[in-house]
Amino acid sequence: MWATNLKIVGVVLGTLALYTLIANKIPQVQSEVPQALTLGANVTPEQLVAAGEKVFNGIGGCTTCHGLGTRAPNLLTDERGTGPIGVRCAKREPGKSCKQYLYESLADPTAYVVSGYQPIMPVMTRQLSPEQVWAAIAYLEAQGGTVDVTGDDIAKAKQAAGPATAAGGGATPAGGPGLAGGSTDPKQIIQAAGCLACHKLEGQGQVIAPDLTHVGSRRDADAIRRKILDPASSITQGYEKLAGIMPKTFGSMMSASQLEALVEYLAGHK
C-alpha cells in the first residue's frame, strides 16, 4: 500500500518537476514597469541606443506591429531587399536624412506611408517623451546605420514641446496647459490633437477612420465623450480592423473644459 502511494507521489512530483523545469529552461522574459527616461546633454550614442532598445521593445509598443512584419515593415531585419531600417531610412524620402525621416515617421506618420501598408501608426510624439522618441530613433539608426542623434536633438524637442511635455511623457500631465495651449476652441483642439490625420471633418482630413462630418447623428454627447476617453469602448461598424489604433491618451492631454468643448462641438455635427 505504502509502496503504491509512494509511486503515486513520485509520479505527481515528477510531472510537476518536469513542467517546472521546461518552463525555466525557455528564455525568461519579464515584463518590466516602464521607467522615466532621463538623458542629459552629454548623452553618448551607446546610451541612446541602449535606452532606445528598451523603448522599442517596451513602452513604445513598436514590436506590436513592426515585430510581426505583416502589419508594418520589419525594422530590425531586411525589408524587401532594402536592408534593416538603419540602412534604408536615408533613402526613403528624397532630401531627408535618416534622422529626419525617422522623426517624421514618429511625429507625422501619415506624411509618408511605405507602399503596401496601411496608415495605422499612431503619432508617437504624443505618447512618448522627447527623450524616448530620440532614443528610439537612435536605436533604429543603429540597425545597420550610423547614430547621429545627440543631446541637442532632445533639448530642441523639449523646447519645442514646451515645459509640460519636457517634464515627462508625451501626454500633457495634469496641471499642464493642455492641447493648443489650453484653448477651448474645438477647431484648435482638433488641429492640435491631430484628429484629422485619420478622421474627416467638414471636408478636411483623412478617411482612414470614421468620417466625423455627421458624427452627432450617430452618437450622442455621452457616447462621443466615452469614445474619446476610451477609444476601445465601441468600434464603428466597418472599422473593426482599426480597433486599438486610436490613441488612448487624449483624455490625459485635454483639460475637462477642453474635452467638453470638443464633445459639444462634435455632437452638434448632425
Partner: protein, 313 residues
C-alpha cells in the same frame, strides 16, 4: 469545448484592444503558448493512452488495435504543429540568424490556421478513440448497422475535410476573416461528435455482447496516466490563470489604471511555473487529505466477518 472557449476569449481580447492580443500571443507571453501546447499534447496523448490501455481488458477490442498506431500518428503530428512557435521575442542577432521574425519553413506551421486544424483533428481523433472504446465488446445487430457505420465514417471524413479546407483557406485570407474560420472548424467537429454519438446510441440497441469487461484487470500504468492527467490539467489551469492575469502587465485596468511601482512587474514564466507547481501541489495535497478523511470514515463503519459472527452469537 475548452479550445473553443479559449479562442472565443482570444477573439474578445483582440476586439477590445489588438495590441493587448498581440502582446499576449506574440509579445512577452509568446513562449507561454508553446508550454500550453505541450501540456495539451500531454492531455490528448495521456487521455487516448488510457482509453487504449483500457481496451486491453475488453473482449472484442483487439479488432480495433491495428488502428491505434494511426491515431497515435495523428495525435503526435497535431501536437508538433500546435507546439510550433509563431512569433518569438528575439533580438536583432537572433532575427538576423533566422532571416526574419518567422522561421522560413516552420513559420508557416506556427500560424493559427495550422494550429486550429491540428487541434480539431486531434479532437476528432480522440473522439474516434472513445468511439472504439464504447464499441469494443459490442457488435451492433440492427439491420442498418453497416449503413450506420458508413454514415458515421462519412461524417468523420466530412468534418475532417471541413477542418482541412478552412485550415488551408486561412492562409489566403486576412487575419480578421481567418479568426472567424475557427468557428466553422469547431462547429464541424462538434456536429460530427453530436450526430455520430446519436447514431451510435441508436445502433447499440440490443447489440450483441462479445464478452464482459474484465473489471480489475486494468494495468497499473493506466492509473498513473490518470494521475498525470489530473496534474497536467490542474497545472494548465494555473498557467492559463497566469496568462489571463499577466497580460495586463503593469496596468491594474488595461490602459486605464496604471501601476508604476516596482512591484508591478510581471514575472517571467519560470517564476510563474514555480508558483503554479506549488499551488498544484497544495491543491492535490488537500484532495489527498479529503480522500484520507473519507477513508477514515469507511474504516469506522467496517465490521469484519469475524466480528460479525461474534456479535451474532
Amino acid at each position: 469545448m475548452l479550445p473553443f472557449a479559449g479562442y472565443w476569449l482570444g477573439r474578445e481580447i483582440y476586439q477590445y484592444d489588438q495590441s493587448m492580443g498581440i502582446t499576449m500571443m506574440g509579445g512577452f507571453m509568446s513562449w507561454l503558448w508553446v508550454i500550453q501546447a505541450f501540456l495539451i499534447a500531454v492531455l490528448f496523448l495521456t487521455g487516448n493512452y488510457y482509453l487504449w490501455v483500457g481496451m486491453e481488458r475488453i473482449p472484442g477490442a483487439e479488432r480495433f488495435r491495428p488502428y491505434t498506431k494511426w491515431l497515435l500518428a495523428v495525435l503526435v503530428l497535431g501536437a508538433i504543429v500546435w507546439g510550433t512557435p509563431h512569433t518569438m521575442i528575439a533580438d536583432s542577432k537572433e532575427l538576423a540568424a533566422m532571416g526574419g521574425s518567422h522561421h522560413p519553413f516552420l513559420g508557416a506551421l506556427g500560424v493559427m490556421s495550422a494550429k486550429n486544424t491540428a487541434v480539431n483533428l486531434m479532437i476528432l481523433t480522440t473522439f474516434l478513440s472513445f468511439l472504439m472504446y464504447r464499441r469494443a465488446n459490442r457488435r451492433p445487430v440492427v439491420p442498418w448497422a453497416d449503413t450506420g457505420t458508413r454514415i458515421q465514417g462519412a461524417m468523420f471524413l466530412v468534418a475532417a475535410g471541413i477542418v482541412l479546407f478552412y485550415g488551408i483557406r486561412g492562409y489566403f485570407v486576412e487575419a480578421i476573416v481567418r479568426i472567424g474560420y475557427s468557428v466553422y472548424q469547431v462547429l464541424a467537429v462538434l456536429s460530427c461528435i453530436l450526430f455520430v454519438t446519436v447514431i451510435d446510441i441508436l445502433m447499440a440497441r440490443g447489440a450483441q455482447s462479445l464478452g464482459a469487461i474484465q473489471w480489475g484487470k486494468m494495468p497499473p500504468r493506466s492509473q498513473y496516466a490518470l494521475f498525470i492527467l489530473a496534474v497536467t490539467f490542474t497545472w494548465l489551469m494555473g498557467l492559463m490563470g497566469f496568462a489571463r492575469s499577466g497580460i495586463r502587465q503593469y496596468w491594474h485596468v488595461w490602459q486605464v489604471v496604471e501601476d508604476t511601482s516596482k512591484y508591478a512587474a510581471t514575472p517571467a514564466l519560470g517564476y510563474a511555473a514555480r508558483m503554479i507547481s506549488l499551488c498544484v501541489l497544495i491543491f492535490l495535497s488537500l484532495v489527498a487529505f479529503v480522500f484520507w478523511l473519507g477513508g477514515l470514515a469507511e474504516k469506522s463503519t467496517f465490521v469484519s466477518q469475524g466480528e460479525a459472527r461474534h456479535v451474532g452469537h
